[in-house]
Point group: C2
Chain length 212, copies 2
């Protein structure tokens, strides 16, 4: 891949992957871009354009081979590799993430759970033991950690993120409600739930105004 | 507002709101677009363009009045109104949402929690009682419900979403890993955690390739 692919395209790829996975489950072997377009409610030309960023995958008149396209998009998304994840913050949200078995099917394996609350020490979530935050450095030194999910309050998130980066973790899945300022080599993906809720309320107000 | 404002602009507004809130907390009364640009790491021209969609708010040479801008963006985002939320699915994720006190500060009040698991019946999360799903219709008929958050497994989400819409709920905050097909008057905001994780892993792979 020598040209830069926009994050807008990347944001759409997991959705393709999801739909193709459902087609596979339904036993569909081949699909035209028109049919895929109809299911996904995007234009066929959008689909062709998006996939052309990665070199195509369709043959004119033959449509797409579902299994091949699914696997190729999986590779593009790095799902052919295992990613070990630790979750820092074992409250409800951290435990919810630890309980998502579907992550594991896609190669995301949760290997550690950390918290500062001594009451949680030693408890297990889906077999994963909750450890104390001060054990985190040793854990990272002794096992491979690819991603750290931050599910603790905003106040502690910045310090923990910097500690993780110093320990060599270079991918952060950030649920804390702040923008982390980290070195360039670190990849950050934010899930800002409040922002999402505000976007929803904007659209509620807009719909109301339109219907007056 | 007579012209259509792009969802890309809307997606940026909660972030402005968050930064302005922090400035307010720090006692800052006035800020130039350059200074705001520096803090938010977007160009000053982007800020001016974004805000011009809503008619501006800045005076040339005087910068922005922080409190005024904060309040105006709050109004744009519908945060000057109360939104009552029910959460359908009282597992870890539903309970995590119910525990977010910050939502309430912005006018999002969680009024009900529902689940199908009888073991959860009557338990309380931050004072909010968990009710059974079959009580939901009566609840919606007798109280104002503006938003329903769907935090149950994908398999049940579609049926529950349709039931909610029939009961008159017209805004869905969807955490289930599927795209809901609902009537046009219904507003849907998706939080697809798996998609977010795949985007992160795409960027991890990309960084690795760049550093070779």
């Amino acid at each position: 891949m020598d040209k830069e692919i926009s994050q807008a395209v990347i944001r759409r790829m997991p959705r393709y992957y999801r739909y193709l996975g459902e087609l596979l489950d339904d036993g569909v072997e081949r699909i035209s871009s028109n049919e895929l377009s109809h299911r996904m409610k995007v234009t066929a030309s959008q689909i062709r354009q998006d996939l052309n960023n990665f070199g195509g995958f369709g043959q004119q008149g033959y449509g797409y081979n579902v299994k091949f396209l699914y696997d190729e998009i999986g590779k593009i998304l790095g799902l052919d590799q295992q990613h070990n994840i630790i979750i820092v913050g074992a409250g409800n949200l951290g435990q919810a993430l630890a309980n998502y078995v579907n992550f594991e099917k896609r190669g995301f394996v949760i290997t550690g759970l950390f918290d500062v609350n001594p009451a949680l020490k030693g408890r297990k979530v889906r077999g994963i033991e909750i450890r104390m935050l001060e054990e985190m450095a040793d854990f990272i030194h002794s096992t491979q950690v690819d991603i750290a999910a931050l599910t603790m309050p905003k106040e502690q998130a910045d310090a923990v993120a910097h500690q993780l980066v110093e320990l060599g973790v270079s991918a952060i899945w950030n649920f804390a409600h702040l923008d982390l300022e980290l070195p360039d080599h670190v990849v950050v993906e934010n899930v800002h739930l409040s922002d999402s809720l505000m976007q929803l309320s904007y659209n509620i107000v807009k719909k109301k105004l339109e219907s007056i």
